[in-house]
């Protein structure tokens, strides 16, 4: 029933798929980290008319399934003239979805910067931009690195969903093999194993970050 030959035959394709998964995760991480930071800052500096709708939108994105969001971006946006490829859709969906989590993490980090730091910045006439980039964020970000790390691992775990919008990632390759060659046990199992081989060290690393940077405030 279990045929090693199938395993060997499918490994190259699965490995290719895994690279696609990792690439999508990588770009998704970049997007989530920067977008989350922007959201967190907007939340802090903007007036209520901007902040409240923003909070609502973030809450909405965070509490609805990534899978449906993927479908939405992939199948509905073209109606409005925005046609992203499956891969682009995946990166945008992962990035935006997880930016709602990273925004919370950054927010906790920003709130953990003592009031005195803001006041000293004012007393020294430091401009708002400098205050954020040189005083507040350099203090806020190190304390949130462990919490960020956890979400980045979570993101890696969600990345196989991209196969639902035609991205031939590790799961997509497994599906391909399963439906073309009718061997399903080995490719799905190996997809899972390959995935664990990446994600377990990643979560181990995230845990190391936690011990390195102390308990998280998020």
């Amino acid at each position: 029933m279990w045929e090693w030959q199938v395993v060997w035959d499918s490994l190259p394709a699965l490995w290719k798929g895994l690279q696609v998964t990792l690439q999508a995760t990588f770009w998704g991480i970049l997007l989530a980290m920067s977008l989350g930071l922007i959201f967190a800052i907007i939340r802090r500096v903007s007036p209520g008319v901007v902040r409240l709708p923003l909070i609502g939108v973030l809450e909405f994105i965070r509490s609805t399934p990534l899978l449906v969001q993927l479908f939405f971006l992939f199948y509905v946006l073209p109606n409005y003239g925005i046609t992203l490829s499956g891969f682009e859709t995946g990166v945008v969906a992962l990035g935006v979805h997880f930016s709602t989590y990273t925004a919370e993490v950054y927010r906790a980090g920003i709130e953990s910067v003592p009031r005195g730091q803001w006041e000293a910045s004012t007393a020294l006439s430091i401009s708002p931009v400098q205050k954020w980039t040189r005083i507040v964020l350099p203090q806020a970000i190190p304390s949130v690195i462990p919490a960020l790390g956890n979400y980045l691992v979570a993101m890696l775990k969600e990345a196989p969903l991209l196969s639902a919008v035609t991205v031939v990632d590790v799961l997509g390759e497994a599906q391909r093999i399963c439906s073309r060659d009718f061997n399903c046990l080995e490719p799905y199992t190996m997809a899972g194993v390959l995935f664990l081989a990446i994600s377990i060290p990643a979560s181990f690393l995230a845990r190391r970050l936690e011990t390195r940077f102390g308990p998280t405030t998020a």
């Binding site: 073209p78 046609t83 035609t166 599906q175 399963c178 073309r180």
Partner: protein, 272 residues
């Protein structure tokens, strides 16, 4: 204790059990006009309708249906997720290695859905292979996937979709230049899309090793269920012989396609 019957281990064959309980599960792929869910979620289309008629004759009056992405039909059958594939699945040697097929109940040519005016001049799979810029959308696991690759199209050119509808949406969105399926399915999909900017290419028979390969579809069974397969096939042959299929499936746009399957058998298609 009763559960023991479910696993088919000790409690007789799938056929016996289905006849005893009066119920069986079929799998289909939500692809009009072959098998699809109507507005109420009920399975309808060519294959479920024919299957229900034959199963009723076998004394099985209740049919439970499961929607599965096309590519998961055979894995799902083998995993015991359902007992019959009623999706108008083409009979070909690769699939015959995995499962048993009934004789075909229809044969149909291939076609593409393309942008109106067919600007890239796509008429056959060879045309796709000849132009690396062309991207074609194909449901995962469809024979078209094999046809395209046999013609020499690369993985980069082929995008697999869970369903033909997803591929159709991608065509409308300009993500792919063509979608490939049977001419009937393309017709149905273009109807669903209702987009004047799209059209169907004329139907054509795929040529393999110099011989035109027919696209003939039938019903799929697990290899271990040969009694169910035989009982079903006998009734199907009788129905074909008595011209009983056409009236059942006319409403789905089938006419000549049914006649085209006359005299054709699973055996010959499996060794073609």
């Amino acid at each position: 204790g009763d559960d023991d019957d479910d696993d088919g281990g000790g409690g007789g064959s799938t056929l016996e059990k289905a006849q005893e309980d009066g119920v069986i599960t079929i799998g289909f792929a939500n692809e009009a006009p072959y098998g699809f869910a109507d507005s109420s979620g009920e399975a309808t289309g060519e294959a479920p309708t024919v299957a229900k008629a034959i199963l009723a004759e076998l004394g099985i009056n209740e049919v439970v249906s499961v929607v599965v992405p096309f590519g998961n039909l055979i894995p799902g059958l083998e995993a015991g997720r359902f007992d019959i594939i009623a999706a108008g699945m083409f009979i070909n040697p690769g699939r015959c290695e995995q499962i048993l097929f009934s004789d075909p109940d229809y044969c149909v040519p291939q076609a593409f859905g393309v942008e109106a005016g067919n600007p890239m001049g796509i008429m056959t799979f060879d045309d796709i292979a000849a132009n690396p810029d062309i991207k074609v959308g194909i449901p995962t696991g469809g024979v078209e996937d094999q046809y395209a690759r046999d013609a020499g199209a690369t993985d980069d050119q082929i995008t697999n979709f869970d369903t033909l509808q997803d591929a159709g949406d991608a065509l409308a969105a300009g993500r792919v230049d063509a979608i490939a399926a049977t001419s009937l399915a393309i017709q149905a999909e273009l109807e669903r899309l209702g987009d004047d900017g799209l059209e169907a290419t004329p139907g054509f028979d795929v040529v393999i090793d110099g011989k035109p390969a027919s696209g003939c579809g039938g019903f799929g069974f697990r290899k271990s269920d040969d009694d169910l397969h035989k009982a079903f096939n006998d009734k199907l042959i009788a129905l074909k012989d008595s011209d009983g299929i056409r009236p059942l499936v006319e409403e789905f746009g089938f006419d000549d396609e049914v006649d085209a399957a006359k005299g054709r058998t699973a055996e010959e298609l499996c060794t073609e």
